[in-house]
Subunit: 225 residues, 2 copies
């Protein structure tokens, strides 16, 4: 009897974390469906990166879905009148780049997609180690959404509840890069910057750029020791 | 000190249940924000009803959001090549009108909206008594989503977690109609039919029409006794 591969919906922003997830799912032989979102983000150029990456990994299907936020004028990622600030280390406040309900929307779409194609898993690249301080990136949040998926799809997929995987949850950025390198990921394909444009894919100073830069510094420093 | 009214996001399909919710929230003095969805439903004419109803209730803001389902070809509400079946009493199977992830998507948008306007409550008109057998209409599902909201918005709204209210959850359709009548709801404004068009707002035979018709029968029968 031929064993069918596990189907996995991977949330794919075009950034470092989700590309590592894509590589991970492909490496273990999953049948991968990539899901990306145009939610009016100022760094929409990340979707070009997502398309390149998905093509590179020879992904079976890439769905790019538009999201119209009920109220985009709340944060610097979807309101271009607000400025993306430079990274402020050691602050605990939720930053102005936080998009209300973003991961819940992303996971809700992923759940709808997974159920409709009978995918057993949803993979999201969030981490609570080196992250921007968004509340919807923490382990208990992911577990709560998994419970929603369990109850929304009570018969599960092939008898098993849909599993929400966040394989980078407990990894530092440098650990994630190490994992990606071990899987042969070419991070030059990825875009992380909140201010990215097609002319300038990385500002170097926003939260996302700073976390990425420090991750690479730590990774190369560990390698040279 | 003036007490500010509670802000509530009410999911508003234009049907009987959500209109009862709208009346309930208005009656208790909430500041109501209505949220409707164009998700490619064949009975999109329900949105015309939603607009009339929202105007009638003098709602502060009505947001109609478009949802592009990742895979609309799975169910008879968003794939016009599939037929909406006539009501089959006493079946336990999930019907072909079930849209994968629909309530999770609706609640995710409501959560994003609520957080962005600092609304303390989200109200959804689902019930597990007289319903079409959709899994995402049951009490444990709503509780699980409330936990997602609690963790996604850890500081809450004015210090309180966002509450997901499903005030019709344990009411029969006839109880809901009685509640609406007590609040002065004119149900002739509402559209429930899965096959509704502007020419014909009710087929009378689909699940939704049958539940509605039986609800009115029971309501009038109880009144005449």
């Amino acid at each position: 009897m031929t064993k069918h591969p596990t189907r996995t919906v991977v949330l794919c922003s075009g950034g470092l974390d989700s590309t590592t997830c894509l590589a991970l799912a492909k490496d273990r032989g999953d049948e991968v469906f990539a899901l990306s979102f145009d939610y009016g983000q100022r760094h929409r150029v990340e979707l070009d990166a997502a398309q390149r990456i998905v093509k590179h990994f020879n992904i079976r299907q890439h769905c790019i879905t538009s999201i119209t936020l009920p109220n985009p004028k709340t944060n610097a990622l979807t309101d271009c009148n607000l400025e993306v600030p430079a990274h402020q280390p050691n602050t605990e406040a939720i930053p102005i780049t936080y998009v209300p309900g973003r991961n819940t929307l992303f996971l809700a779409y992923a759940l709808s997609f997974a159920e409709s194609i009978q995918a057993q898993r949803i993979m999201i690249g969030c981490s609570h180690v080196d992250y921007s301080g968004y509340p919807d990136c923490r382990p208990d949040y992911i577990q709560a959404f998994e419970q929603v998926a369990r109850l929304a799809v009570p018969e599960g997929i092939q008898g098993q509840p849909i599993h929400i995987e966040a394989p980078l949850m407990h990894l530092s950025k440098s650990d994630t890069i190490a994992l990606g390198h071990s899987l042969g990921v070419d991070y030059s394909m990825t875009i992380s910057c909140y201010r990215a444009t097609s002319q300038n894919p990385a500002c170097g100073t926003c939260d996302s750029c700073q976390l990425r830069l420090k991750g690479f510094e730590a990774f190369y420093s560990a390698q040279s020791n």
